[in-house]
Symmetry: C2
């Protein structure tokens, strides 16, 4: 089975006017996605943001949860935060993982690869697999072109399709790695 990694992309993403922007890192994205990541056996959760002040903000939170006292206070959070690694751009992450299979996600109809196909790919791949999740109004088309596969959008039970990225990560991990 392939090692699976996850990256949360804060740049380059669109804002609601389809301008290319950098979004902010949020505390709850760090917590929730780290906890989901650890539940589903993710090896590393890369938080990708080019802005030094944003990385410094995230570093403070991550640093706090790496302290011994945090393991005593709430070990489940502290354990999850071990997965978090900060990076200033995706290329740096790709280089570190040495030629991973890149699987992008999008709530928009950009991809059509079935969840089961990625589940199978992970079972068989000898290369690591990295899952990309966008913030804001989604990753730019240029960034999506770097992906080897783009997953089909999650379908719920209505026409509304505006999950938080935290919920989308949880559902995607469950669909491709879930155990029951």
């Amino acid at each position: 089975m392939a090692k699976v990694y996850l990256a949360l992309i804060h740049h380059p993403v669109y804002n609601k006017n389809k301008e290319v922007v950098s979004t902010c890192i949020t505390g709850v994205d760090l917590h929730d996605i780290a906890r989901s990541g650890l539940t589903y056996g993710i090896k590393k959760y890369f938080v990708v943001n080019p802005m030094p002040a944003q990385l410094a903000f995230a570093e403070r939170i991550v640093g706090c949860w790496r302290k011994e006292a945090s393991f005593v206070h709430n070990w489940t959070r502290a354990e999850a935060f071990k997965l978090v690694e900060l990076a200033s751009d995706l290329d740096e992450v790709i280089k570190k993982l040495k030629d991973p299979v890149i699987v992008a996600t999008s709530a928009k109809p950009k991809g059509s690869v079935k969840f089961n196909k990625i589940r199978e790919l992970i079972k068989k791949s000898k290369k690591p697999v990295i899952l990309l999740f966008g913030t804001g109004w989604g990753m730019t088309d240029e960034l999506l072109q770097k992906a080897d596969h783009i997953l089909e959008p999650i379908k719920g039970n209505s026409k509304y399709n505006h999950l938080s990225v935290r919920s989308a990560v949880a559902i995607v991990l469950d669909r491709i790695l879930g155990g029951n």
Copy 2:
């Protein structure tokens, strides 16, 4: 198909010392769970908390998203917030729904009902179905006894099982109501 409702329980729940407490309402629980709820066709998302100050806090947030300006600013959030209804206890909610089937969830091994069974139940039931999610260290055993069914815990891909309630809601809704 049954109408499906959801309740987030802030009391009675355990804290980490297994004392019965009331937890606080958080903004991100309102947002994320409302958005997941609307994606999966939930009819109403009840936020259950006995503390008047907590309900007043939530009412301010909900009230803000009910304003016309919020629909202009970010209609996807405003639309999701239409689902939110505040309640001071679960009995009030049960009474309002007139004899619903109560399905509780727990991350602990309290229940063994398979996700597919609840999916089938929802397809066939003429009564409404309400899904209960706990906060803190989980709903009290006494409260769980009110449930007609307790779902098996979500299994990921590791021994770690400490999802945020927001992630757990997303995964449970996807497993019992998801469309692809």
